[in-house]
Assembly symmetry: C2
Homo-oligomer: 171 residues x 2
Amino acid sequence: MLGNSYDSQVCSIARALELVGERWTLLILRNALFAGSTRYGEFQRSLGIATNVLKDRLDGLVAAGIMDRRPLSEQPDLHEYVLSQKGRDFAPALIALTEWGDKWAAPDGAPILYRHATHGSAVTVEVHCAECGSLEDLIEVRALPGPGMPPDRAERITARLGMASTRAASA
Amino acid sequence: MLGNSYDSQVCSIARALELVGERWTLLILRNALFAGSTRYGEFQRSLGIATNVLKDRLDGLVAAGIMDRRPLSEQPDLHEYVLSQKGRDFAPALIALTEWGDKWAAPDGAPILYRHATHGSAVTVEVHCAECGSLEDLIEVRALPGPGMPPDRAERITARLGMASTRAASA
């Protein structure tokens, strides 16, 4: 458990990780998003995950509203696990994680290629500036306090950013 | 520990998570990437993280080649932690995680806004198809076996994808 200090992080990365920041959970999401898995047995076979762990993670995804559990029409005593919009929206984060792993932790080449079904063409993640379009160099990206940041913390962050730019300017 | 079964996942998401799949680690990376933090004390103050945990995570980032530890020129007995290219390349994944958290886990609005320093304009992540450009609907994205997938597993995945498309076509 990360405890109170982690819980106090006002940050959408922290909150995203509260919901999906467990590795099996991300691999279940990956198989649901990009391999079309919906059944317990499909996840179990493709991931080789212990059944109690799989059940726990699927229950967690349903509780978080990331998957819906529905009875199978042909076998209503069985269920399928179907991604909600909240689950489908996680795809860009998974593609971005894959790209980093492909570049930095895949000595034998990319194990998985994302392709657009319509054309078979490559699918990638781009960081986009509303003014400049696609950004290659992210060193110019800043994190500023937004509307969801409590005012006292927003002030501290702004002060720190001001100091940093002064320091950079005088360096 | 996730054990052998997890270790056997041939997947760049899994490998990325081996390196950075711990929540404090991601928050340290966030502060290094977007708040310009480089010193132990800066991470400690802004994250409120226990010192032994912080030391452990920074050591891990250095060991993974994501940060470099350098003596400070003005105080060579102190060090700063500077992102390597491998660390800087993690920015798109963090921005994508933030966007998902902003949309689905930030009832008070986004705590952090990513802005391009040059223009102050919004910075977002887009999923891009080499043929179609920006993709809104990711339901058409498929994960196919790449050059780094062992042949026996690639065959199984291809067979499963074939079954899935037959099932979809007959539904």
